[in-house]
Amino acid sequence: MRFALSEDQTLLQDSLNKALADLSPLDRVRRFADSDACSAPDIWAGLAELGLPGLMVPEEHGGLGLGLLEAALAAEALGRVVAPTPFLGSAVLAPLALTLAGSDEQRSRWLPKLASGEAVAGAAISEPIAGAREGAGVSADGGRLTGKSLFALDAPGADLIVVADRKGALHLAAAAETAEIMPSIDATRRLGELTFRDTPAEALASNQALERLRDAAWVMLAADTLGAAQAMLDKAVAYAKERKQFGRTIGSFQAVKHLCAEMAAELEPARALVWYAAYAFDHAPDEAPLMAAHAKAHLSEIGRFVARTATEVHGGIGMTDLLGLHYWFKRIGQNRQLLGGPERVRETAARLQGLIPA
């Protein structure tokens, strides 16, 4: 029994971090953020070379066949450099949906393409998880979808969309009638507003697959925040060791040191929670939903704390565009709200334990 990453997992983490440092440096992030592009083909191609799009695709369909813990490590690595790339929808949710609820034919048709990165998939599952806003929601009738789905992940420009309808049943659609980018604080990942109007779609077998997607997504968002927050702490510490004020490096002031210590003290246990939530998804399905909820909610809270505190340690310069710190701040802020803010997710956590009367 060992609560630690395996050698393979550490290797995966290291190689991802190294590759992403080259693929997604700050100026590349900036170029993407300032553009209207739906994806960064150079980064996507580089990630495809590492097998990232197929991380969770079974080996028989050309993927690496790894688990959610490996995906969490990838999410953490992507968050660490605020990588402007599809991932959650295309490399996690769509492969999971197909594996859990797709027919053999559907899997054979899509999984190889997703694994190679040739196709990108989006996931439109917000309404049944985070609640419907603005009258959104999709209805299914005889192989056709009608309605709107907001905050669809990796959806703008996708070749395939996994759609959850109002009742929580899953569908595969090649495209929506219209797919608009929803401008949000985080310019490193695109969210879609999808409109369906009698749009053809294939049903996926529905054996609580949406709940598994939700759990996986919650863990991924938590892991992304973990990576981004760790990066912000690292930057704050590095800056505090370098920057001088009043004749001293500011990192020698107790106030600054304690802010950094508080960030570290929050992040270390949170890392263990994220790891375990991902492990449970793979190996302890009874515990998985509760752990996923706690990981999502808790990382949302401490992510906000770290984002704010690391910015404060940087002083005025942290507020500007110069160091680009705000890309991390906003990525953490967006992860917090996506698929339900922490308050809503904690309600689910309570319900999962029978602490809310049905």
Binding site: L150, I185, Q245, M319, G340
Partner: protein
């Protein structure tokens, strides 16, 4: 505690209300139709530049905190625009009144008040930050002039301003607080370059300003050569006080309550969610506290500490109000820039970020806590570190 108005003050309130009603066609949605004309009208009636002597283009009234407050409230109620603000009017003018020469006062105050001259402030530097007094921008003597070289940061309105009031180091050999002068010069003087400084909100609320041998007459120093640190500090206090304005916070809380009462998730109003409602009530108690604290600082001479905490607490509270709005909006809370689902033009997110900037700017929260503990509570200063 006597919060009822005297008959005199009640009459004054009617007067202000009457003025605003009579001129209601000169403003719209909180903005004047002709800003300069509006400014002149306000000065003429004592609703702007109220306590500044007539000789310098003001209205010439005695200072009266209560009348000021009545004016402020009447303008808020009517959603009428106040007079021009800006750093020239709120920081330079009080400085000139206090330490400027007669020539400086008559030359600069009137056109500043009536909006003909817009100023920007050159205090902070990239290398200095919280340690403002360590500024490096140099003014080297050259006959009757100084030649200024260096750079400034966090300069708002630098691109629009005609003039700058600026802190420069004129005596490099003196201790750091004693070698600084406060000087005025036109922004079109050769050798000045302005570069916009974009912040996390995506907007360039500030600028960097670079100086290369900018020639400025020595006569433009205000308050005496080498006295700039002390000259600037009198007005910095004004700025710090402004940064936690409780009226603005109260208005934001009102907007938040309206948001929570009107928005729904799955058809349920957000205000009906007990967890969000509880947070709202916590913030409302703080908003009231800051409001009454503000009233107290204006009329209670024992309120020294109460004044000192306004910036720290007020900016934090604004940030928390914005945070609750974002959280209450759920996924909608992350929208920004534009789009059909954006609420309040994205101002909740913008405030959330900009207010964090205000927590940091104008004296970081850490510096504020130093001030409160040392000046407010009489605790010892940080001992001087042994030089490494």
């Amino acid at each position: 505690m006597d919060l009822t108005l005297t008959p005199e003050l009640a009459a004054f309130r009617e007067e202000v209300r009457g003025f605003l009603a009579a001129h209601a066609d000169e403003y719209e949605a909180g903005a004047p139709k002709d800003p300069k004309a509006w400014q002149k009208l306000l000065i003429a009636n004592g609703y702007a530049a109220r306590t500044i002597p007539k000789a310098y283009g003001g209205y010439g009234a005695e200072p009266d905190i209560l009348k000021s407050r009545i004016i402020a409230e009447a303008f808020i109620d009517a959603n009428a625009p106040r007079g021009m603000a800006g750093q020239g009017i709120s920081m330079l003018v009080p400085t000139l009144l206090e330490v400027g020469s007669e020539e400086q006062k008559t030359r600069w105050i009137p056109p500043t008040l009536n909006g003909d001259i817009l100023w920007c402030q050159g205090y902070s530097e990239p290398g200095a930050g919280s340690d403002l007094a360590s500024l490096q921008t140099r003014a080297v003597e050259d006959g009757d002039d100084f030649l200024i070289s260096g750079s400034k940061i966090w300069t708002s309105t630098a691109a629009q301003a005609q003039m700058m009031f600026c802190l420069v180091r004129t005596e490099p050999d003196k201790p750091k607080h004693e070698g600084i002068s406060y000087i005025l010069f036109p922004m079109d003087t050769p050798g000045i370059e302005v570069r916009p400084l974009k912040t996390m909100t995506g907007h360039a609320e500030f600028n960097e300003v670079f100086f290369t041998d900018v020639r400025v007459p020595k006569a433009n120093v205000v308050g005496g050569r080498g006295r700039g640190w002390f000259v600037a500090n009198t007005t910095l206090k004004h700025e710090r006080g402004m940064l936690g304005d409780p009226n603005a916070t109260e208005a934001r809380l009102k907007a938040l309550i309206e948001l929570m009462a009107s928005e729904t998730v799955d058809g349920q109003r957000i205000i009906d969610n007990p967890v969000f409602r509880d947070r709202l009530m916590q913030l409302q108690a703080r908003v009231f506290s800051m409001k009454f604290n503000g009233l107290r600082t204006m009329t209670d001479e024992t309120a020294g500490l109460a004044r000192m905490i306004v910036k720290l607490q007020g900016c934090e509270l604004n940030h928390q109000v914005a945070a609750l709005a974002i959280d209450a909006l759920g996924e909608l809370g992350i929208l920004y820039h534009d789009g059909p689902h954006l609420r309040a033009k994205g101002n909740w997110q913008r405030n959330y970020m900009f207010d964090l900037g205000l927590i940091i700017g104008g004296g970081t929260a850490q510096i504020q806590k130093n001030i409160i503990s040392e000046r407010g509570l009489g605790m010892p200063r940080e001992p001087k570190a042994v030089e490494a």
